[in-house]
Amino acid sequence: MDNNLRLDGNAAGGLLNEVFPFEMTTAEATCGGCGNMRLIGELMLYQHGMGAVLRCVDCDTALIRITQIRGCYRLDLSGMSCLLIAADIH
């Protein structure tokens, strides 16, 4: 993957808001690979025609894979051990 194409997780805010009713770029994700905790907005975002992958800044583990196929969102969150979302921020 061309590193020049990568963006910040912040750029996935609109897409994540299609699925979650919260401000997700400030949610904290704990990486299942290295255990580091980062804001979603800080993660590395790789976008492609089918959807997006958010990767750990420190170890490159895919924390969130989100695709939209035939009217369904498909989320693979298996790379993440914990997701902390502030419920009062919309």
């Binding site: 020049n4 963006l7 912040n10 750029a11 609109g14 770029t25 907005g41």
Partner: protein, 221 residues
């Protein structure tokens, strides 16, 4: 706009265009206006091979409707009213159209007469390519706590005494606040530039959580 809430300086919107045959293209654009303004202002750089920007720049007319969602992003934001920011000097580093969200912060700072010291290091190809050139000049002339430093990477006017190269370590050492001053850094522009700036600031001792990045991809915008 229905369901619109006031934005924060640094946020972006997603713009979606749908052609007559149903094909859709979507891009993110940073908001250039401060939250206090009545109108939302986007600054769009026209990319020759772009799918969305040529339409927005060449075709869109007053009164046309476009699909837009936002404001988006709570990470790359600066709020003059946020007590947590008290006293932290701002170091803003922009390349090309990466100036747009940083301009929202500079305008917002000016509107609130928040005099936290701020420096903008801004890389453009040429003098003509400097976005908001006059406004930045005026703002820094009227505000001793705002310093604007330009670098022109490809072409410089005669008598240019500023920087004339891409942003590098030496330039950041010259211009950035010292780490001991507890600065808050925001950098926005093409991915390669943003990553270079963030890496160098880390090496200068900036705390990782206090370097906020907004990558625009290979060409920006």
């Amino acid at each position: 706009m229905p369901n619109w809430t006031t934005h924060l300086a640094g946020q972006h919107v997603d713009v979606r265009l749908t052609s007559e045959d149903g094909y859709q293209a979507q891009r993110s654009y940073s908001i250039g206006s401060p939250p206090e303004d009545t109108y939302l202002m986007l600054t769009v750089e026209r990319l020759e091979d772009g799918e969305v920007s040529p339409y927005l720049v060449d075709e869109l007319r007053a009164g046309d409707q476009i699909e837009l969602r936002g404001p988006i992003g709570g990470y790359f934001v600066w709020d003059a009213r946020d007590g947590k920011n008290d006293g932290s000097p701002l170091f803003l580093v922009a390349a090309g159209s990466g100036i747009v969200p940083l301009m929202a912060m500079i305008r917002h700072r000016a509107n609130w007469e928040n005099r936290v010291p701020a420096k903008l290091l801004y890389s453009s190809r040429s003098y003509e390519d400097v976005i908001y050139r006059e406004e930045l000049h005026q703002m820094s002339a009227n505000d001793s706590s705002l310093r604007v430093i330009h670098t022109l990477t490809r072409q410089q006017p005669p008598n240019w005494i500023g920087y004339r190269r891409r942003i590098d370590r030496a330039m950041l050492v010259d211009t950035a606040w010292r780490q001991a001053e507890k600065p808050l850094a925001f950098t926005c522009g093409p991915t390669a530039v943003v990553e270079k700036v963030a890496t160098e600031l880390l090496e200068l001792g900036y705390e990782p959580q206090r370097i906020k990045t907004e990558r625009f991809g290979p060409t920006g915008g």
